[in-house]
Point group: none
Chain length 226, copies 4
């Protein structure tokens, strides 16, 4: 074989094994890393004196997680009743399967005050938009009810069953257009490193797969050519 | 026979059998696939403290179904009473023939708030339309009360009798122009595949029917011509 | 060795040991001095008649401290209810681990009064900003609840367990957008001197480290050169 | 020694001893005379029906005093409630360590009345300042609650322990932005004379120290020169 064909062989094997290594790593990555962001609509039962919304966290989803970060996204109706309702208290409780509370936090909140004049001027300014239903009178808030540092005692790691999230409101008169629980999780152990130190980890893995593949392919080629 | 007539015969048999195959498949398809979308008007009994509307789902219709997706379409009257009624709660229950609840979900909702000035300006703007009765003061909402993923435990598959859908409202003062239950269903087994992978399935079926027809017709023709 | 190389050696050793001394002192400084400013969000439980917010001061953080200076930063909602609520009383209590109060102070406060005309004119002036949500109707206050001179009796020095800070409000109707406890601490003993007389202390330390390093390095060099 | 050097010596000794005498007297003066003006913030406890503010007068500070002059500086919130609250009564009590009242005076007061038009015109005039928070609606008053002639019976001279000052308000609805107790004291005996007849006293003292210093220094110089 001339040196031209040898060089061509070398380069083609090199690039082929590199592309294959990347493909293998990408498949491996998405097989290993479960999704870590969840949006869960919360439906409060406003017929009871202390409205409550219940959402279950299936164990299967949170198997590889060890920390939770969550906020309650609420869109309040900007009505006089809501404006004068005073301080609200949202309590989040995470319940075990054995009916024990493993986590409990509350956050107080209140709507931004607008006086009559401001409301009227706003109405005049935004009238065209509200006529076609593009805007509505609302105030959206994000209440941070779960924090990484507070959930780091590992109740997620210990639990082997489904957890239940309950959110309570202390006043039944409050009017809410919609509410969602936004959950972000941190993975555990090797998975956390794979996700957090993405570039470092991928570089190490791809390189090692690449070298391994290349050596195998090169050996086979040499053996076949004789 | 000259090669011209042979070619003509060939082409005509080919096209005839293709058209026939399509006709056969279309008839077969509509015989197999029952309708999967239903509109059911809901008439609430507002004389009781908790207005309820009842609709029956006949077993015959839902024989081949295994999942339900449904929303309640409501048009609220935009009156001050409705505006100040606060949070409403719509509860959907599916009852068995043995008086057991097989499914139950609720959704809270509230009307979009409009203050006096906005209402007045809207009246002025839309006055011509409302004079001729082309528009009316209403707010329409779609409450999603049944979801595919939530109804996938197969209660539709197990049931052998008619089901009953009941929708409850927690406040009797609410004023509703009209309400409808919109149901979408997913079919079971082979029917689901026929509907879902429509083009793939139809292509395979039509091709195979076509070849079968063509071979039969061609054989018959050869036999007849001698 | 010529006098040129000797001088060069002398100067390079001098500057090298000086830079090294500075680096050593900076590392030592940041290892010795813990952070002395803390921001702690206070979440008042407004569902009780006397809203209370609880924050724990971990002993670990305050190990080297002996005096506390703290203020409660409050942003009141500028609503009619708040405007007419009258005098408020904020009480701060520091509780021991044995359920004994080691410190207790209260401060009265009231919102700045604005009459209707002023409010309306303000609304007109700031309308554009409030339309986009850049400003909101609030009055922020800083209530000084802990002072260096009052906490100098050394309860921080004596305590060996975590302390708990409780802040009480005497009226549950008050509406608060947000509240934070800002804590500044003074260090104890040598650490206090290091932080307070920064330049003097650093000058003395760096000089002594420098001379010590230089003498060691110079001795080694002489021994090596022979 | 020539007469030039003798004259020079004479003048230098003269001026040196004069400067030294002044320095000595100034040091002596500030060592003898304690501060006689105190500002003490008063924090009224508005949660009780008769709001009270308590301040302690440590005996150490008031050791050399024999008369007190004090006024309560109050900034009232110019709100409708305050405007219509009527006559207020502020009572000052000085309590002994043995729970006996050694002094008690009260002063009635009322806010300056402003009618609506005046308030509105004020608002219009001062609007720019109040928009940036440079002014606020308040009325400040000085209530003289302690007078020299009333405290001349010498309870300060007799007391050997800390005193406690209590200020009572007869109505809990009053709204106060801030309040301070401003205390001026008169010294006792020689200290009083030193402070009161400052120039006469200092002239006599400085002259006598000067002569004494000069004679000592001159004697020493003569002895040294021989």
């Amino acid at each position: 074989m001339s040196w031209v064909s040898k060089g061509f062989l070398w380069i083609s094997l090199c690039s082929f094994s590199f592309v294959l290594a990347i493909i293998i790593y990408v498949i491996f990555y998405f097989w290993m890393i479960p999704p870590t962001f969840y949006r869960m609509p919360m439906f409060f039962d406003f017929s009871s004196p202390y409205p409550v919304a219940v959402v279950s966290l299936p164990w299967k989803k949170f198997r590889y997680m060890n920390q939770l970060d969550g906020s309650l996204h609420l869109c309040f109706r900007e009505s006089p009743r809501n404006m004068h309702i005073g301080m609200l208290k949202f309590t989040l409780e995470i319940w075990d399967n054995n009916d024990t509370i493993v986590y409990s936090r509350f956050r107080p909140t209140v709507l931004r005050y607008k006086d009559d004049l401001e409301t009227k001027m706003e109405t005049l300014t935004l009238f065209v938009f509200s006529l076609f239903g593009w805007t509505k009178r609302q105030q959206c808030q994000d209440l941070i009810l779960l924090e990484y540092k507070e959930t780091s005692d590992g109740f997620l790691r210990r639990c082997k069953d489904d957890l239940t999230v309950k959110v309570w409101i202390n006043k039944a008169d409050v009017e809410v257009y919609q509410s969602e629980l936004l959950l972000k999780t941190r993975l555990r152990g090797i998975r956390h490193n794979m996700k957090h130190y993405k570039w470092t980890f991928s570089w190490i893995c791809i390189t090692s797969i690449w070298f391994w593949l290349f050596s195998v392919l090169f050996g086979c080629t040499l053996y076949l050519i004789g």
